[in-house]
Amino acid sequence: MYTTKWIAAAAVGALLIAGQALAADKKVVAVSIPAADHGWTAGIVYHAQAAAKEINAAFPNVEVIVKTSPSASAQVSALEDLSAGRKLDALVILPYTSEELTTPVKAVKDAGTFITVVDRGLNDSSIQDLYLAGDNIAVGRNTAKFLIDRLEGKGNLVVLRGIPTVIDDERIKGFQDAIQGTDLKVLDIQYANWNSDEAFKLMQDYLAKYPQIDAVWANDDDMLLGVLEAVKQSGRKDIKLALGGNGMKDIVKKVIDGDAMTPVETPYPPAMIKTAIYMTVANIVGQAPVRGTVKLDAPLITQENAKEYYFPDSPF
Amino acid sequence: MSSVLRMEREGEIDMAAEPLRHSILRAEGVSKQYGSVTVLSDVTLDILPGEIHAIIGENGAGKSTFMRLLSGYIEPTAGTLALNGEHVRFAKPEQAQDAGIALVHQEILLAEALTVAENLFLGRELMRNGVVDDRTMLRLATEKLAELGCLVSPNALVRNIALADRQLVQIARALLDDYRIVIFDEPTAVLAGDEVERLLAIILQLKKQGAAVLYISHRLDEVQRLADKVTVLRDGKKIGTYPGRTLTQMDMARLMVGRDLAALYPEKRTKAAGEAMLTVRDLSVPGFAKNVSFQVHKSEILGFAGMIGAGRTELFEGIMGLRPATGTIELEGKPINIRSPRAVLDAGIGYLTEDRKGKGLLLHERLAPNLTLSALARFHPGIFLRRSREQDALRAAVEQYDIRLKSFGVKAGQLSGGNQQKLLLAKVLLITPSVVVIDEPTRGIDIANKAQIYAFIQGLVAEGKACIVISSEMQELIGLCDRILVMRQGRLRGEVSGEAMTEHNVALLATSDAAADGNVGGTK
């Protein structure tokens, strides 16, 4: 009994080694991203998998492996698993948190792997070969500019914040800096954790508290959905504009359809993971130089250019 | 003048007549009041070294209050305590402990998930160099347990040791520090047979070593055997202190109750038992009972004797469907499915558990829901329960079983032990069983309630029901039953009836193989 087990184990081990030997002549690009737990990360997963499929088909000598992790610690373990048995040629990572992932990513880098960091930066920027992110400050600033323009520089605003993180802080900062010096007044600002239900409740409370609200900014489209529902229920006519952010397909659709309350949108497209993967592969396959920092702009999506940002098949 | 009054006066010890020996602890006119209620009033008592002093009284007589006063759990509202002639005050139990007073609690208060040694030193662990000194504690624990004749390993988990051993561990814990006075609060309530004997031997040894022992018990036979002096409390007052050997149990009972009691046990039924009511064949409860077969007849009280751990309770839990069991039971010729407790109850077998607080009653619930819990079907004619019917049932039960309560709104936990037992009896009888099994009918119950419960049991068989009484008090079985079956190590070892029902015969069957398995000269 005991010996049979050993023989079986040895056989399985031999197979594994053989499998790796076969794969050894391929360039391996690992993609480590958070698991889909809300709309935006679902978009990340969708676009990462799409990129992997396209690249694996197009370049037979490149293998893109996508690994999703439901938490920071799971992501650390995933990195260990990915780099344990084989040499990674490149790692594309969207870190859960900056602090916890810095050291593990550095360990991978030290083994000679090309590192691409997406969206959330690591604490030590010398680790990354390529950094690609959206511009969160621009998300807030561009939205604010549009509001100033539309409301002719004056009016009452309410704002919904997301989960307390750098992304949320930057968006709010960009927004507040931009409206400084105008007569736009932020009546209230509270957290709704990028959650539609909480945004719905918060908006109801805002409506009860303030008799005159000219515009609402939810810094994420999941929250905007809740806001719109609450406004609709209240039957209030004073709210002229309700804006979100991130480029959710339902909201982009509204822009395309010329919705009066939500005429514009700012992208923070999860498709950026695809950009990052393609650029990394370009470096490996075509030796095209990509090292450096890429900041995707957050241009206003309007009815004119909305089609460009519309992915009807994406879950986001 | 009634005989009780005469006895109260004439039997008393004249304290002044023995001035030679010095009392180690003296309570002088102590009283305890809670608001307007006086629970202990002007009690004066001397406790002497090398003497066993029993304190007896009905529930509520003030015994536990007195104990708690002596061991520092409460302070008297009037009166003083003197230790070796010096005035002392105990504001905390620790102070009494430091003064050499050890209290062995009635309930077993041990942490089941810890080892014996850990329990012994719980809260007063020995330290060396800032860490717990396990080795020394283990050594001391081993010594202490050996002294008490307790054979369990100090490393055993308390959860895994027998009830009797837990009691010994508890005693060891109380005796760990230096002690001069040891107070036992109902130490034998959870023990049986030889375990009781072992404990009594320990107490006698303590006495021999010169300790003063204060002994509280409901078991008057033990008091009679042990006590040098007996102090009787009634309604918070001291009735008197009497020399132990001269009092009979009946005397003690009279002094406690304060009036003449008729016989404790009702007169036995004289007519022959009726046809078979319950037939049990080859009943086995894995780990507890093996191939037990017996019959109980209409209008018969059948006793089950045996040591703790003999498997009596488990046997009946098996019959009741409360434990996995194999075998067949028939009630008046009809087989009963023993898989489901509900089916057994509905068939007409009622069971009063020995653990009325843990398994019998919902202590935080009011009386009516407790009363009707196993017979709910009778109180909902449609889909809704009828509260009024429940209240009527409660009123009837209170009247019929003389349950003493202040208000119908009290919770079951607020009743005294005896009244809880009566409520439990009423609860079981609500399903109108034809066979009633009563496990330890009078455990922790005072003598007046005891007599009542015996009378109720007699009443049940007079109605034609069959009764099975499981008891660790042999006196009780002999006084009450028509026949006694004795169990040992999960098997039925014999039967005694009629003249052969003596403590000697029962004990023989219960403890040793010396008696040939089978009947011990029964007269049928």
Binding site: A36, P164, K201, A208 | G360, L362, L373, G409
Partner: protein, 330 residues
């Protein structure tokens, strides 16, 4: 044999034996409302109160179910995920049937929700009772399963309800009957049915007995397995009712639907006066508890005293104070 006749008259049991546990949550509710009014008079406006009570409906309905589970000595951590899962299934079913059945897809979907909820609850119950697994662990497991299922069904995005059904279904959350929002009426109805079951029927007694002392219940011929399993099935059904009310609010199920509801539900039950270790359940207290939770959140937004960063902390403090008051006024 002398048996003393009881001479003193025994006081009858009062018909309504009201203790602090019974009225506590309602007193707290009233105090909160007064504080709210002092802080911001808009607080007591009909619209605000209607909004707050309406949105407490989901938690209230689920918490009524949880009152059974907790009363019987169990615990269910899976309710939030289960709500999301049922919402997802219901929307998918309605969307599928919308083309063939038209508006009839809505009531049919509701029936599906109830059946699915009942089965989910039953599954939880059987794992706990027959499987003899600690409720905490068992439902932690199913919590993960339901959450994964809704994430899978939605590809991590959202499952929106078909536009053709949207408007017809909308009144279930936003509609009113005699001026009272429908979700309020539904939760009152659920609580009423629950209080009948818990206080007037045999099952309620059994539930409380099992929770108060399993042994006593067993010795009284009550089946622990049956009683507990039914409690979980009731819980599942309540989650389904909540899900039915939830769908029209935002018209979509997402992986974040119902996140942390289980904690709010348990808090509501405990604030309502039901002991977490089991025993007597307080259905109406639970409902009050759910409203209190929502009121506190509302109050935080309507007042300007508390920094947005500290809102959660202040809520925690208020809940602890409420529990301390209950604890020490016994």
């Amino acid at each position: 044999m002398t048996i003393m006749a009881s001479s003193t008259a025994i006081r009858p049991e009062r018909e309504w034996n009201i203790g602090w546990t019974d009225v506590g949550p309602f007193v707290a509710l009233i105090v909160l409302m007064l504080i709210g009014f002092l802080i911001n008079p808009d607080f007591l406006s009909a619209t605000n109160l209607a909004n707050v009570i309406t949105r407490s409906a989901f938690i209230a309905i689920i918490a009524v179910g949880a009152t059974f589970v907790i009363s019987s000595g169990g615990l269910d951590l899976s309710v939030g995920s289960m709500a999301a899962f049922i919402t997802g299934i219901t929307i998918l079913f309605m969307n599928r049937m919308a083309a063939e059945w038209g508006m009839m897809a809505i009531p049919a979907g509701m029936m599906v929700a109830i059946v699915v909820g009942f089965l989910c609850g039953l599954m939880n119950g059987l794992i706990v009772t027959i499987g003899r697994i600690e409720p905490f662990i068992a439902t932690l497991g199913t919590m993960g399963i339901f959450r994964a299922l809704i994430t899978y069904m939605s590809d991590g995005g959202s499952i929106p309800i078909d536009r053709s059904l949207r408007d017809a279904y909308r009144p279930v959350y936003f509609g009113t009957l005699a001026g009272i929002p429908l979700p309020i009426i539904i939760s009152v109805a659920v609580a009423a049915v629950a209080s009948f079951i818990l206080y007037k029927m045999k099952y309620g007694r059994k539930c409380a007995a099992v929770g108060a002392n399993e042994d006593v219940a067993r010795y009284s011929g009550i089946s622990i397995i049956k009683t507990r399993t039914i409690a979980y099935a009731i819980q599942g059904t309540c989650v389904a009712v909540a899900a039915i009310c939830y769908v029209p609010r935002l018209g979509a199920a997402t992986p974040t639907t119902g996140v942390l509801w289980e904690l709010q539900v348990i808090t509501a039950v405990v604030i309502g006066g039901t002991a977490l270790r089991g025993g007597k359940g307080h259905v109406w207290g639970t409902v009050a508890g759910a409203v209190i939770l929502e009121l506190i959140a509302n109050l935080m937004v309507l007042s300007d005293f508390v920094s947005e960063y500290l809102v959660a902390g202040v809520q925690g403090v208020i809940i602890i104070i409420a529990m301390l008051i209950q604890r020490f006024s016994k």
